[in-house]
Symmetry: C2
Subunit: 354 residues, 2 copies
């Protein structure tokens, strides 16, 4: 720490991202990345975008927005693109939390909510998941806070129904409810259908998990025009060119090839369900997942041990050294071949102990 | 404005970027972009980066940092990369300004400093340039503020010498001095040589102006390891993956081809000096520029009129509707051919009035 750091940040703890080991060394199942190659024309689109990269990127993301509307049903003044969805979540904290309005979120959820609350110096109300790691949606009624819910939740993979979200919206008419749909593509459902009815709903999403663009960074916000205009003002006060032109080009092409990605998503869901069954056979308690990962613990062997044994075998998964979930392992869903290797390794580890 | 916007932001005025018209319609000399094509291998490097864009980008920007060190002499724990240099400047405001330490900068300088001060709710001390639009460096002694100086300054193109910067550093031992070197490549000099002597110096730079990457967004900070660790903590609390993998790949290749860019920079400086001479012949007062633009006003014809006449002729330059400088025009330096077209148009406009 330097002697110049502003006082209010002196105790700030940054988010700790999953490890990013050198490629090729590991089967990397620790950050919920998309396991398939990009659609073929994406290569050309990136290379073509280099031609004009000397010019500032399109502030309005016009083309990207048009293709986005084709796929997601919203565009125009309802959509804002961001440098990954972390950028979108930060914008929401900055714009809608403050001295008068803190933030509320679950005890076990995406770790960045707490970091943003601290960074923005806003009061946080942390609401425990219930005994089976579910969000009790009634806990979120009438909080007078800006609410952040990952749906499906991470790292549990559990999902609130749209009816439950609607009840949260109804019971927080004067506060923003941010639904973070990073993993929603793997749940077969989005709460976007609620947008026309509720002016307090903000949906955040990402191209990282279901569109294979974690490295290219593309996030989005879908909301009412009024809320979007507030968010855009703040975005234009931080970094108007936050989405670079290569990412815009690549994102546009990805959306043009949506069928390919939907096929991959279906494949990932199938692999997830089969992998979950195999885990159960090996003695794991598996939380039924609506995301591209599973969250599971073994009924007799410690999470830390399994994590380390997998790492020795060059398989990287995620474990959170955090109360309530430190016995659990979060395993991203890769290709069927990768998951078979994991199952074989786990059988060996579990068998070795027994 | 929605009813949810946090109170402290209700009067915030966002930065207004230069227009980004559709390509091909205009000779675009309004946002100081690089007028030459990228080095040839950059195309391949972008396309190759798409292969792994399903994986999160390298948080440490390892390869980029190594090539950066080859060119700029600093790497390792002294350098932080950002999503354009706006992102870098915002990080500096967030990390080193606060309730106890406001920000100080010139009245006529990069417009974002004032926006960031307002966004971060910090006190701002605005210091007028002198009569000939120069920074009087002694005005910055002992301010007890975090100081932001664009050097060369925008939109004037004037530069403080390294001796003058050193005096500012000496006279603000307990405060950070941020030197924004966005345009320094066109001045033949950087204050990076002062880094080993002063632990309060922060240098911000960009690949937008001199490396043709405005659209790809790559900024950087060079500073002491202590200060860099503070900035990195805040960066990791906002958006650890702020520099996407396509930009990292492209930036690495750009640095590998540094000779080409240095050649282009020299060409731009030559064009700038010749263009300035031509402007003088047409009756303009031209501030001698150390950047890739000139700032000039005509001795009898209004800036607004010339701006509009150029726009009619599909030449886009920048004019700021701001006290003291509203008669001035800021014209980016393009290729020799583009600048000849501008001179011809100006001759016509000036001749038409006379």
């Amino acid at each position: 720490m330097s002697r110049f750091l502003d006082k209010r940040l002196s105790s700030l703890k940054a988010y700790i991202p999953g490890e990013q080991p050198k490629l090729g060394e590991f089967i990397k199942l620790n950050t919920n990345e998309f396991p398939y190659p990009p659609a073929k024309c994406v290569f050309e689109s990136a290379s073509k975008a280099v031609e004009n990269m000397n010019l500032y990127s399109d502030l309005t993301c016009k083309e990207l927005k048009e293709r986005f509307k084709d796929v997601f049903g919203y565009g125009g003044n309802n959509v804002i693109f961001t440098n990954g969805s972390d950028d979108a979540l930060y914008l929401c904290f900055l714009t809608f939390c403050g001295e008068d309005c803190g933030a509320a979120f679950a005890d076990i959820t995406y770790g960045f909510y707490s970091v943003y609350a601290d960074l923005c110096c806003v009061d946080k109300q942390i609401i425990p998941l219930n005994d089976v790691f579910a969000i009790n949606h009634a806990d979120y009624f009438g909080l007078n806070k800006t609410i952040f819910i990952a749906n499906p939740n991470a790292p549990t993979g559990k999902r609130l129904s749209n009816n439950q979200i609607e009840e949260i919206l109804i019971n927080n008419r004067d506060n923003i409810v941010v639904i973070d749909e990073a993993y929603t593509a793997f749940s077969g459902e989005s709460c976007v259908e609620l947008l026309p009815k509720y002016d307090n709903l903000v949906i955040v999403g990402t191209f990282s998990k279901s569109r294979g663009m974690a490295g290219a960074r593309l996030g989005y916000i879908i909301t009412s025009e009024d809320i979007a205009s507030d968010l855009e003002k703040v975005k234009f006060s931080i970094n108007p060119y936050n989405v670079n032109s290569l990412t815009q080009a690549v994102g546009t092409t990805v959306l043009e090839n949506n069928d390919y990605y939907v096929e991959c998503i279906n494949e990932i869901c199938k692999t997830r369900d089969k992998f979950s069954e195999e885990l159960v056979k090996l003695g794991f308690d598996v939380i039924p997942s609506k995301a591209n990962f599973v969250f599971a613990k073994h009924n007799s062997i410690s999470g830390k041990y399994i994590f380390e044994e997998l790492k020795k075998r060059k398989i990287l998964i995620r474990r959170f050294d955090k109360e309530r979930i430190d016995e659990y392992l979060r395993i991203s869903i890769g290709t069927p071949e990768q998951m078979q290797i994991v199952i074989n390794a786990l059988a060996e580890i579990v068998g070795g102990i027994k």
